[in-house]
């Protein structure tokens, strides 16, 4: 079994918000990718953004974008 890794998981109210987030992060070279929302999260949208925890400070660069929550998880 693959070892679990620490991730920062950002959730969104809509798929549109998730896609807007993805595009901005790609433009700014903020690491991460869209993943299916882990079942343990009560999320609005089925997509979440998973990123390395050490990149947390980069969230300030996308502070104006719509999101629901930001959680530290083992995935």
């Amino acid at each position: 079994m693959r070892a679990k890794m620490s991730k920062l998981v950002v959730t969104f109210p809509t798929t549109t918000a998730a896609l807007r987030w993805e595009r901005r992060c790609q433009t700014l070279n903020i690491p991460g990718r869209l993943i299916p929302v882990p079942v343990t999260i009560t999320a609005d949208c089925g997509l979440a953004w998973a990123m390395p925890p050490e990149a947390r400070n980069r969230l300030e660069e996308v502070a104006e974008l719509e999101r629901s929550a930001c959680l530290a998880m083992e995935l």
Binding site: T14, T16, A17, L34, G46
Partner: protein
């Protein structure tokens, strides 16, 4: 075939549209129904199409561009989602059955009162009568941007100013103009804008939608799966999911996105200028053909639609002859515009409608005029 029925659908599309649909059918999954490569590709494609349409239509909220199967579904979503029992609506004689029938249904069910801004014998709307139609419970003003029969354009400035002055919502049907006539929803003061994807936008059939201003909330026409908030009994409140129950036409929307990008690159002003030039050429040519009656007002800017009758010809027979003898496609009948035919006095006969598009050429117009001239000769 010379296809002059672009007000019904643009048969000729930019090649990138079919290519985008084909690629989508071979690669797209279901938007918002997973996070695999295919599903993400679908979600990104749909999102890009929303953004491109928002850019084209002068709307700064792509997340409030909601997709439907066609303009009819968009208009039903808007009218049935907006109107409440006791509301009064002002529509116009130009309106298509996609506006009229939902309104007639609401009126028949006793929920909504209805009045129409009349058109005169030349099809000109009598805007000075707007004030007289106003009631204390008037909530909505509906207008079609261009008559699908005469091609005349709505006086948007006047309609929007009237709506604003009296606190009404303004709903605009752009079925005949989106993609072929400049539209800027926010500058025009439109609250809800409905469009179809397969006419001026040159996308696939089965695509359409509506842009909904953030100040407006609509009750969903359809409820069901959205891929989000699955334990909630009601539709999610957030747009576009609020109004998009069920799987979207991802393949069609990929084609529509390609079409809109083509229009943005070409320039809607250039498209409009081309179509206007063809219309002018056609109308000038008609003046030299005996027995032709043309309907509508030709004094200003317009959409590329010309309705006419040829003396001695039933419109259906004229259309059939144009098709069989000259390989020219046009449309006879009532064109789903009963009130406009009544205003023009053509309700018993109908008329023949010619409508031009981006791929219509000057040679096509020349050939159509020659055919009509020949048909006008005594046999």
């Amino acid at each position: 075939m010379i296809y002059l029925n672009n007000a019904a659908t643009t048969l000729q599309k930019p090649p990138c549209v079919a290519q985008a649909v084909l690629e989508a059918m071979n690669s797209l999954g279901n938007c918002a129904r997973g996070a695999h490569t295919g599903e993400l590709s679908a979600a990104r494609t749909v999102f890009q199409t929303r953004e491109a349409l928002a850019r084209l239509l002068g709307f700064s909220h792509p997340e409030r561009v909601v997709f439907t199967a066609n303009a009819t579904q968009a208009l039903n979503t808007a009218l049935l989602g907006l109107l409440r029992p006791g509301d009064h609506v002002i529509a116009t004689d130009w309106d298509h059955n996609s506006v009229l029938r939902p309104l007639y249904r609401l009126e028949k069910e006793g929920d909504v009162a209805l009045d129409f801004l009349p058109a005169d014998r030349q099809g000109r709307l009598l805007y000075q009568k707007l004030e007289g139609l106003l009631r204390p419970n008037t909530r909505l003003l509906v207008g079609t941007h261009a008559s699908n029969l005469t091609g005349n354009l709505l006086d948007l400035e006047r309609m929007a100013a009237f709506a604003r002055a009296h606190g009404l919502l303004f709903l605009l049907d752009t079925a005949q103009t989106a993609g072929s006539t400049p539209v800027h929803m926010e500058k025009m003061g439109v609250d809800v804008l409905c469009f179809t994807g397969h006419k001026g936008l040159m996308g696939p059939q089965g695509t359409g939608g509506l842009c909904i201003s953030p100040s407006v909330d609509l009750r969903p026409l359809l409820t069901g799966g959205t891929g989000v908030r699955s334990f909630e009994r009601g539709q999610p409140e957030e747009y576009p999911d609020h109004l998009e129950a069920g799987t979207l036409n991802g393949h069609g929307l990929a084609g529509l996105g390609a079409a809109v990008e083509f229009i943005l690159k070409t320039g809607v002003e250039a498209i409009h200028a081309h179509e206007l030039e063809l219309t002018t050429q056609f109308v000038r040519g008609l003046q030299e053909i005996p027995g032709v009656t043309v309907y509508g007002d030709f004094s200003g800017d317009r959409a590329a639609v010309v309705a006419l009758n040829l003396e001695g010809w039933d419109p259906a027979a004229a259309t059939d002859t144009l098709s069989r003898d000259y390989d020219i496609a046009v449309r006879p009948g009532i064109h789903c515009a009963p009130r406009m035919h009544q205003a023009l006095g053509t309700q018993d006969l109908g008329c023949v409608r010619f409508s031009f598009g981006w791929y219509t050429t000057r040679e096509d117009i020349h050939t159509a005029l020659a055919a009509l001239k020949e048909m006008s000769q005594p046999s």
